[in-house]
Amino acid sequence: MALNSVVIVGAGQGGFQVAASLRQEGYQGNITLIGDEPGLPYQRPPLSKAYLLGKISATALLFRPEDFYTQQNIELVHDQAVAVDRNNRQVRLASGRSVDYDHLVLAMGAHNRPLAVPGAEAQGVFGIKTKADADALAPLVKEARNVVVVGAGFVGLEFAAVAAANGATVHVLELGDRPMARAVSREMSELFRCAHEGWGVHFDFRQGIGHILTEGGKVCGVETVEGKRLLADLVVYGIGVIPNLQLALEAGLDIDNGITVDSTLLTSDPHISSLGDVAVFPCIHNDQKLLRLESVQNAVDQGRAIAARLVGKPAPYTALPWFWTDQGTLKLQIAGLSNGCDSTVMLGAPESNQLSVLCFRQDQLVAVESCNRPGDHMAARKILARPPRLTPAEAAAPGFELKVWEAANRD
C-alpha cells in the first residue's frame, strides 16, 4: 500500500523524531505533526534545570528552527486531536478540522500526576512539564526563600538543586525512604542524598504531603500527613506522570497502562503506531515483558524505528534503554534496566562523587549507574548492547576499569 499521508499526534520528543526521521529516510508524502502546545516543538529535559537557571535560551530548547518545518514540508498544526475514526482513517481536531491518514502515530506523551491535596490550586504550586510551566516558575525561583519539593525523583531533585543554588532553603518530601528509589540502587541514592544535603537540601523521607497552607490564595507553607509544618513560598511537585490515553481508549485500541504495541511498535490497529511515554512495548532488556519508559532515548530511538518501518525497513525494536539526570554538579547516567538486580559492584570514589554501580542479575550485568563517570556510562552502553557480558567476579577484581574492559572486549 502506498503511504502518502502520515499523521503524528503529539509534537514532543517522539512525535518530532518520527517526522524528522521520515524525511531523513527519504519519505516524500505528507507529514502532519499535531501538537497542542503553542510554539515550535522543543526539548523538555532542560526545563527543570539548564533552562530554569537561564543557562540556555528558549531558542536553544527548540528541536529545530521554524524554517526547518517549511523546508522539510512538515505541516505543524497547533490543535488538539479529539477523536480517531479508525474506519475512515481520520483524526478529528478540536478546531473541527479532520485530517486523513494512511498511517497514524500516537505520541501524546504523559501528563504530571496531579498533587491531589487541599490547597494544591494555590498560587506558587507548580509541576514542571511544559515550557509554559518553566516560564511561569523561573521568576519565582529567583525570589523564593523557602521551597518545598514534593517527590525525590529526577525532576524534583533537579529542581531542588536549582533552588538550592539560588540560595533558597529547600525541603524535599518523599514517601519512600531514599532519593530516586524507583530508578537507582541504594548505593547511588546514598551518594545523591549526601550531595544534596551538602548543597543545603533537607530531606524528609517517609513523609507525605497532607495539605498546602495558603494565605490570600498564595502558598505559605505545607503540612505533612504527620502534621509537620514547613514554611514555603514555592512548592514544586514531581510525583510521576500519567500517560495520555484518552484518545486511544476512545478509539478502542488495546491498552495496558499505556497503548500496547508489538515489537515493531504497531498498535492493535495495523494503521496506527505508538511510541514514547504513552506506549507499552515488549522489551528485550526486560525479558520481553511489556514496559513503558519515560525517557528521551526511548522516544528518539522508537521514533527512528517507526520511521524506518514506514519506509519499508521493519525491524524489532531492541535499543538499550539509557537515562540521564543533571543535578547541581552531578551527572547521573544509567544504562540498562536494573529490575531484579541481586548483586552490585561499585567502582570509583563515592566520597568525591564519582561512582559507578554495576547491577547484576543472576551474574549477568543488566545495568550500570554512573555518577560523574561518563566514560563508564559510554562503555556500559556498548557492553550491554551486545555480548559478551561482564561477570561480577571480573568487575570486582582489583584495578578493574569498565572502559578498559569494553575496549578489550569489542568484536
Binding site: W324, P374, M378, K382, E406
Partner: protein, 106 residues
C-alpha cells in the same frame, strides 16, 4: 553567517550554514545531516554527535574537558581531533570550518 563543511565517512560533502553562538551539533542537525544525532539535545550526555575537527581548526576551540573527555574515551574510532560537536560553539571568523564524521555514532 559562517558556512561549515561536513564530510561524511563515505566522502559525501555537505555545506551547512551555521550561526554564531550555535553549536556545531545544532548546525548539523538543523540541516538534517546524516551522521550526527545529538540525541540528548546538547547536554553532553549521549555522545551521538562525535566528529573530527580538521587539524587546521582544532585550536580554534577551547580544549575538551571533564565530561567530554571522559565520554570520548569509548566512542568508536577515537582520534586526537575527536570532539563532541555539541560542545563546539561556532564563533565569529569560523567561515569554512571543516568537520569530518565518523563511520558510526555507536
Amino acid at each position: 553567517m559562517p558556512t561549515l563543511t561536513f564530510i561524511e565517512h563515505s566522502g559525501t560533502t555537505h555545506e551547512v550554514h551555521g550561526e554564531v553562538g550555535q553549536s556545531v551539533m545544532q548546525a548539523a542537525t538543523f540541516a538534517m545531516l546524516p551522521g550526527i544525532q545529538g540525541d540528548c539535545g546538547g547536554a553532553c550526555s549521549c555522545a551521538t554527535c562525535h566528529a573530527y575537527v580538521d587539524e587546521a581548526w582544532v585550536e580554534r576551540f577551547p580544549p575538551a574537558e571533564g565530561t567530554e573527555v571522559d565520554m570520548l574515551d569509548n566512542v568508536t574510532e577515537r582520534r586526537a581531533n575527536s570532539r563532541l560537536s555539541c560542545q563546539l560553539v561556532i564563533a565569529e571568523g569560523m567561515d569554512g570550518l571543516l568537520i569530518r564524521l565518523p563511520a558510526s555514532q555507536y
